[in-house]
Symmetry: D2
Subunit: 451 residues, 4 copies
């Protein structure tokens, strides 16, 4: 009896292959799902069931694809906002046996109406759960967000409260297997720890320690979460069942000539590091370093829009492409194979972004340049906690929608916590025609560290 965690970096999405005695099931498979079959075979197991904790909004479910590959049956909770085309509905108390491993279904709504948890028992040993898959209901150090039904905010927060009590009732001994880890946008303050138990969470998870239902609802309602526009597409696809990932996820290398003859509407996503983008980049390209794609690409790329990448090497292009495919961006036309020296040696145009050190910023405060403005692109929560006096706020993800509130002719220094999101934001501004943009590398971190 084994539980193998399969983690999708960036999304911090956790899925699980659980096997016993020649059979296996998968909890919350991702779209590129060959890995579950390969791991199962290595362990001598055949995948017969797929359990979904809820309809995911931040990634494409691999359940319909994996079901087709393996013949496995997909189980989904009731009350999805429509019929989950590829799944059977399972309910509170349903059980599934895999030899001496028994799975029991708990309805745990709140994060979504269809949220389920799956408790795991070893019938050779005893009547208590050994572990529980909690989806987005309970995380390590946090609980699920409840902002998806804005007009039912109190109700669903209350539902989550009840669901969490139901999960905790499984007992302190049960190991906790959530659907996301630290770094995910699906929670707010997850622990940067990859293992826990219900007993540990009961004692030390701040949200679980709120013993009053009312206090809990109040705390949940006070939270602020962002919803990137691509969430809508995910929800739709995860009802009907998305197509399989492309057979080959590595994009095609393109020459500078091919790159320059791309259709106008193509988005150029520069997946290189922040520093590489600052040093030189293709005019009009959007900076999203490969590891940041899962969190930020969905804010800027529209469904169906053709995309090309700039990457330091094929490995980076592959990682970027996998990230994009997991959130439904399939139409990757290729990636630029040459690094900036080769590109520029062809006489082709490039841009650099001026990079500001914290000392430069302090100097500017002493002698402010004309029309100068610090633009802070962190989340509103971070900004409200503490910010540099005189800075204005616009969240990096929402920037395309809020550009009109900024002045194309002003001199903006973009900042965030370190300079990473600031570089994304600077690229958004540059694409929109802002010509006096520089990046505060180190950003609020450096500001505080040198205070």
């Amino acid at each position: 009896m084994f539980i193998n965690k399969i983690k999708s970096e960036g999304l911090s999405h956790l899925s699980y292959l659980v096997g016993n005695d020649g059979h296996a099931f998968v909890v919350d498979p991702r779209r590129d799902c060959e890995i579950y079959v390969e791991e199962a075979v290595k362990a001598g197991c055949r995948i017969t069931h797929i359990f979904e904790t809820h309809r995911n909004e931040d990634l494409i479910s691999g359940a319909p694809v994996l079901a087709k590959l393996t013949g496995a049956r997909v189980l989904h909770g009731p009350n999805a906002a429509g019929n989950v085309a590829y799944a059977d509905t399972t309910h509170e108390g349903d059980t599934f046996e895999f030899g001496n491993l028994r799975v029991e279904v708990l309805e745990t709504p709140g994060h979504t109406d269809d949220s389920l948890s799956f408790a795991v028992f070893d019938t050779d040993f005893g009547d208590d759960a050994v572990g529980v898959f909690t989806g987005d209901a309970m995380f390590i150090g946090d609980v699920g967000r409840t902002d998806f039904y804005p007009d039912r905010a109190e109700e669903v927060a209350g539902l989550l409260y009840d669901s969490l009590r139901k999960i905790l009732a499984l007992g302190d001994q049960a190991l906790l297997y959530p659907a996301h880890g630290a770094g995910s946008v699906c929670g707010d303050s997850m622990a940067d720890r990859e293992f826990s138990s219900l007993g540990y969470e009961r004692k030390y998870n701040d949200k679980l320690r709120i013993s009053s239902r009312e206090q809990f609802i109040k705390a949940k309602i006070a939270e602020h979460h962002y919803q990137p526009p691509y969430f809508r597409l995910m929800e739709k696809l995860n009802l009907t069942g998305a197509d399989p990932a492309p057979r080959i996820t590595t994009p095609v290398p393109l020459s500078p000539d091919e790159f320059r003859s791309l259709p106008e509407k193509t988005v150029i996503v520069d997946t290189r590091t922040v520093s590489a983008f600052l040093g030189s980049h293709l005019p009009g390209s959007l900076a999203i370093p490969a590891p940041m794609i899962p969190a930020f690409a969905g804010w800027y790329i529209e469904p169906g829009q053709p995309v090309v990448l700039v990457a330091a090497d094929p490995a980076q292009a592959r990682v970027a492409s996998q990230h994009l495919i997991r959130i439904g961006v399939d139409n990757l036309e290729g990636f630029l194979t040459t690094d900036m020296p080769e590109w520029s040696a062809g006489g082709l145009p490039f841009h650099s972004l001026p990079v500001m050190h914290v000392d430069d910023i302090r100097e500017r405060f002493r002698n402010p340049p004309d029309d100068w403005q610090i633009l802070d692109v962190r989340s509103i929560k971070e900004y409200r906690q503490e910010s540099i006096e005189g800075s204005v706020h616009a969240y990096v993800g929402e920037l395309p929608q809020t550009l009109d509130q900024l002045d194309r002719n002003r001199h903006y220094t973009v900042m965030c916590a370190s300079g990473a999101r600031a570089t994304i934001a600077a690229s958004v501004l540059e694409r929109a025609g802002f010509s006096r943009v520089d990046v505060f590398l180190g950003s609020f971190g450096a500001w505080k560290a040198t205070d």
Copy 2:
């Protein structure tokens, strides 16, 4: 904060890489220890500490080698039967910090005098342990064997009882990370489940449910465990620190000619499957299918004896070689590259072993051949539970020592639970000059299934 389990198949040895915030430690590294460094680098961590739960008797510790590779400090418990040359001694209550991860030392003697457990805390969260590394003190579903100090049997069983209480006192919420899993010879009845918590074990581990110290001691003393002779070598090497594993673990392919000109004393270990050995094998070869090497090779190969392998392919030779290296058998001269058709097509000699089906055995009971005897080579515990009437017992591992009690001229049908250990035993008999040996494939399993 992550805990990565690294499992050595066959030995069912579990070691752990634990990392947090750029630093990492390893618990109970195995001899071929590059993997810890590679995994640590992937996770952006530097290994600075190595913790040993006790002096291993069933495998070579990688601690001294890994320490040299990384500069990490090795920590070992007090009361090892001598000075652990490569380690510092750590004591009850010592703590080690890795950012917000704190390790606390518990002295938990019983399995050995130097046994330690290591509790892990997340100081960002709370004062209770999140997990505990228990070495060979506590397993999932079982506890450590206490037969290593025969003249102090009651005392050490009692020590273990106390140690287990000390571990359980960490609380139900703590995850359990033992040094062995199902299949190891270090326990008796481990669960075939790879995850548990103290809470779960407290409730469902039979040995932990014995609430009386006296009853526990009695139960432990009643156990019977085998100790392969190579244990002595491991204990010695793990005091002084063994040499690193060879840089290349795959043995050299040898031609039939090279194979035939090996020194007399060379042991030929046939690592192919049971069925392949039965079908045809080199005269004088010892059958130990690759996955069975960790459990059985140590019974038959003497320290320093040259060894060659027969393998179906280089991958099998490599697996066999890794198993052997982990238990200190380094002098592998190579492996035979050709399969039996090629070997035999050169006019070279080979043997087959007659294979008996359960129907053949029943038929024989009806019409017994001359001088016929069933030889059951299972453990004495298995044999005593249930056996075929008229069979005699000799444990497969101890066969070289008990051969003289058998009659070289009798007709033996060797059996075990399935035929696997029986095939090893048959090869031992064949090497010793027994000429009327056949193998009961299916063995006691088939006997019961067709009853």
Copy 3:
């Protein structure tokens, strides 16, 4: 400018990825064709062209699939026995440029009417070819078989003669890149050497040294080649374009119970080694050791017939499955996960085959058993060269068709050159109800070696 050979073991099929300056083409891709894209990306190249030297009869062409994956254009020769649906036709003298790499088309019929060769030039250097892809026209040490148009035997042998002269006219300096290497059934006496040049072949390839067209035709007509029945299917599929290989080529592990409830018509292919099959195997299973599948499976499995495997481990099942997929056997229902000890311990039935050493055979000649007959299953060519007196001949591949000429009640000892093909043949006999079959391990090789 690079040429990477991609070899499919067993079929000894050679395909090539050729790249220059960011672009690449593939010659004769196999069905599981992701590898070309991956290799091309690693080399910074985009595949834009696929060249087929001819319509393959021994494997499924990956050209239509690879074309769909990459957008590349497929080029095929004229005079295919029908319209190659997925390809454009290219003719003598057509050229294709990839930077300074130029490809020139030569029509080289004979093996098939549509056979092409592709000469490669480096236009930065000179007017002579650096290399040539010859498909099945010219091999290292041999030339293509010409038995596919039985009623035009002399004509096509003559055509091949002319084609070979045309190829040789490219000059001694040109490197030779054929579509098959030693071990393929597409030639008769290929060198076991993986590299050559036209100059070397001109001097030392026996067939090329026949200077008279008449002598060449005579020699070709005197050859005897076997054509497994699946060739017909390959030819058909390679006109219309076969489906892609399954996304996951590793078959599903099945339990003994699942295995026993398979539909009657399912073929059980035992892919383990010869010796493992001899030792014990499932009743009714067909022995085809994994590496022999490409050469022999096509004789016994009918299109569309469901297949399950017996394999020593998942890796062997995967290799077997890849071999089967390349020749169009897709309907793999799974593989048996347990080895024979576990299988038999469940009380399930198994068979063994008696194994004869050359000494046993000689002893039998001295005291022949009743009704005893040696059955030699080598090729008719091998048999005619030399055989054991008194043996009868039936080619292993044709055995299903020639069974009726044998006597189910006789005692057959099956032999070949080593025992490998004999074991396949013995399994065919056993499945057909022959009950007195044994295998001469070592076979003719041992007979000669001990003469």
Copy 4:
């Protein structure tokens, strides 16, 4: 019979594993030599011989290490500048048999006095060589440099001429296997093609087409080659036999804190891309993008000097480390794990380099800044062919020695062919205290392209 090329990128060093009939030899192994053993085992071969074409000056020979790992015998030519401690001497006409593969030794001095070539014959076929390993005597499209004996310049050029004739006499049919490919500093104008034959080279290799010995000598003497200082160390180590590469080649990740407390003399090598270095880098770091390490690190790092890396990720650190180890830089203390945003967010210092586009340069020519000077760091050969008027020259490799001829207070724009070497040079200047340095990205390439 197979020849597998093993290529070391960057050095463009080519070594070969050649196998036949269960035995294998290696030509010119590199220091990290486990790969040869692994490849040999996969092919069922045992390495018994190692042939060295000459004493390498640009990399550490793996021959002594591989010999120890395998027991193979090392063969080296006569007239090495001393005794090759780990090798036997072999002479013109010596032969070695590997089944039907015969190796024949040719003494081919010129590049070095001890240069050998090894002709390969297939004795099953004929008396002509199938291929030849030429070391640094003959390359594809070029011949070896002859500048290592400055006081015998004419003599050794003449020796090479004779050696090349001797090689060509093997016949047009022989395939060519040199020790370096395009990109190596061991030749001057190698073809960017990875395959050739003696016949092709005879016709199209410019140097081989010089039919007069005198003309050839004259042409060789007119060449200019650079010799990085580390060549001396390689030559010394390759006489005595260098130590094995470290068991683990990936360096240790270091935190910013650990990084900042390094000993003064430590060299920080920034292995990231050119653009990443330009965007932001650690003050005092030396820019050598990972793929450029083999060609440039040997100019700047002194034997024994401690080195740390800045790398985008562990994979890049590993590649860089492997490159360094191959040229004898073993004392790698670790690599920085954080990217520049994290580094700078800690308030730590960083620099950027101003990046100039070709348009900026042209504008500067129209309005020259004060004290402005273009510094061209290409090879003297490139500079003499064509350069920007007014630029001064200093070769990038020799810059540390020629710094005193430059003015620390001037404003330098550094250029090369694309900006890559210019970035290395700019980092050298910055480390030396030049404060007004910018980089012309695109460099001479852009200058010409936009002319």
